[in-house]
C-alpha cells in the first residue's frame, strides 16, 4: 500500500502539506489550533506534558512540540500556519520560527530578506543539486 513519489518531493528543504501528511498530523494540528484561546495557552505553558496528553498524537510528535523542533513538526504532519501558534504562545514571531527552520540566527534571516531573500540557485530541485 504505497504510492509513487510526488514530483514536489524533489523540492529541497520543503515539506509540502499534502493529504498524507495532513492525515498523520491531524491531532498535532488540533493541538496547535487549541492555542488560539488564551486560557489554553496558559494551561499549556503551566504543564506542557500534561496538556499534550489531551491530544492523541504520537510520542514523536509530543517530543517535537516540547523541544520546539520546528522542522520535525513539519515532517510529522504539522502545517506552518498551525505550528506558528506555538511560536506565538512562546511570544515569538513568525520570523523567529522561520529563521530556526532555516537554521540561521534571526538577524541573519532578516538580513537575507532585506537583501532580496533566498535565491532559487541551488534550492530548486534535489535532482539538479546532484547533477
Amino acid at each position: 500500500m504505497s504510492k509513487q513519489p510526488e514530483e514536489y518531493e524533489d523540492i529541497p528543504g520543503t515539506w509540502v502539506f499534502d493529504a498524507q501528511r495532513a492525515r498523520k498530523g491531524y491531532h498535532l494540528n488540533a493541538f496547535f489550533y487549541s492555542l488560539m484561546k488564551a486560557e489554553n495557552r496558559a494551561e499549556f505553558l503551566a504543564d506542557e506534558h500534561k496538556y499534550l496528553e489531551k491530544f492523541p498524537m504520537t510520542e514523536a510528535q509530543r517530543d517535537a512540540v516540547m523541544k520546539r523542533a520546528w522542522n520535525t513538526l513539519l515532517e510529522l504532519g504539522g502545517v506552518s500556519y498551525a505550528i506558528v501558534k506555538l511560536a506565538f504562545t512562546d511570544k515569538k514571531s513568525y520570523q523567529h520560527m522561520a529563521s530556526k527552520m532555516a537554521g540561521v540566527s534571526e538577524s541573519d534571516y532578516v538580513n537575507m530578506m532585506l537583501s532580496g531573500g533566498r535565491s532559487l540557485d541551488g534550492w530548486r530541485s534535489k535532482s539538479e543539486r546532484r547533477s
Partner: protein
C-alpha cells in the same frame, strides 16, 4: 445591474497589519511598503465601491482541520475578526452582503462551481490586511464585503485554471444582480514566498514580475501554470497566487493597469500589488 469595475491584487502578509496596528508605518523598514500603497488608497477613495469581493485564504483560524472547503463563500451579515494567537487585530468587524452572497451561491452552483456556503465565519489577516492597505484605519469599513475563502493550506489548492474559470462565473453572477452597484474584487496573498523548512525565505523576483506582466496582458497563459511550478520556483506558499487568477477571471478580457507596486521584503514575502480597471 451590478458591475465589477476593477480588480486589486495584493499581498496579505500579517506583519503589514501588525505594522499599522502598532504604529510602525513610519519606520525605515516599512516606509517603502506603505508608500507603494499611497496611490491605491487615493484611487480607492475616489472609486468608492459599494461591495468588495475578497478572495483570500484562511490560515487555520476560521477553519480547523475538521472541514476544509476548497471554495467557501461568506454569506453572513457580519464577520468578526479572528484572534490568531496574539489577540484579534484592532480593526472594525466586516459587514457582509447576505442577499448578494446568496444570489452568487445559486448562480455559481448552477454554473457547476460547488461552493461551500459559510454562514458564520471569523476572518483573519488574509482578508483584513488588504482592507487596511486600501482603506486605511477607518472607524467602520466603507464597503460591504463578500469573503471568498480558498483552501491553499492543504495541498492541492484548486488549480490556477479552475480559479480563473470561477472568476469568470463570478462576473456572470454579479452582472445578473439587478441593483446599481459598483463592485471590486480582490485577489490576495503571494507573491513569491516560502515560510517553512530549511528553504524558508525564498523569493523569485523574476517570477513575480512575469506574473504581474501576465496578469495584465496574458492571463490565459498564467492560468496554465501547474501547481508544481508555483511550489518549486516561487516557494511553497506562492500557490496563493491562484487567488489572483480568480480576481483576473472576473474582470473580462481587456483591462487597464492603473497601478503597480513591488517590494521585497515584508517579513518573509515579496509584496506585490496591482490595480486593474475593467475596460
Amino acid at each position: 445591474m451590478a458591475r465589477i469595475i476593477a480588480g486589486i491584487g495584493t499581498s496579505h502578509t500579517p506583519a503589514i497589519g501588525a505594522a499599522v496596528d502598532n504604529g510602525k508605518t513610519g519606520e525605515p523598514y516599512w516606509t517603502p511598503v506603505f508608500k507603494g500603497y499611497e496611490p491605491s488608497k487615493k484611487w480607492m477613495a475616489e472609486t468608492a465601491p459599494d461591495v468588495a469581493i475578497i478572495v483570500y485564504n484562511d490560515h487555520v483560524n476560521a477553519f480547523d482541520f475538521k472541514i476544509i472547503p476548497t471554495f467557501g463563500l461568506g454569506c453572513a451579515a457580519e464577520f468578526p475578526i479572528a484572534d490568531e494567537g496574539w489577540g484579534a487585530r484592532p480593526v472594525p468587524a466586516v459587514q457582509g452582503y447576505p442577499e448578494l452572497a446568496a444570489h452568487m451561491v445559486q448562480s455559481l452552483v448552477l454554473d457547476e462551481f460547488d461552493m461551500t456556503i459559510v454562514n458564520e465565519m471569523q476572518v483573519d489577516h488574509g482578508l483584513t490586511v488588504p482592507l487596511t492597505l486600501l482603506f486605511g484605519q477607518p472607524q467602520a469599513w466603507p464597503v460591504r464585503v463578500i469573503p471568498l475563502a480558498v483552501n491553499v493550506v492543504q495541498y492541492p489548492a484548486p488549480t490556477g485554471h479552475r480559479c480563473y474559470m470561477l472568476g469568470k462565473a463570478i462576473k456572470k453572477a454579479v452582472e445578473s444582480w439587478d441593483e446599481e452597484l459598483k463592485v471590486v474584487i480582490f485577489g490576495t496573498g503571494g507573491m513569491s514566498h516560502q515560510i517553512q523548512g530549511p528553504r524558508a525565505g525564498l523569493i523569485n523576483k523574476e517570477f513575480d514580475k512575469a506574473f504581474l506582466d501576465g496578469l495584465t496582458r496574458d492571463p490565459e497563459r498564467l492560468a496554465q501554470i501547474p501547481p508544481l511550478e508555483y511550489l518549486r520556483d516561487a516557494g511553497a506558499e506562492a500557490i496563493e497566487l491562484v487567488m489572483w487568477l480568480m480576481m483576473r477571471g472576473a474582470l473580462g478580457e481587456r483591462v487597464r493597469e492603473v497601478h503597480r507596486f513591488y517590494h521585497v521584503p515584508a517579513s518573509s514575502t515579496g509584496v506585490g500589488h496591482i490595480i486593474l480597471e475593467t475596460a
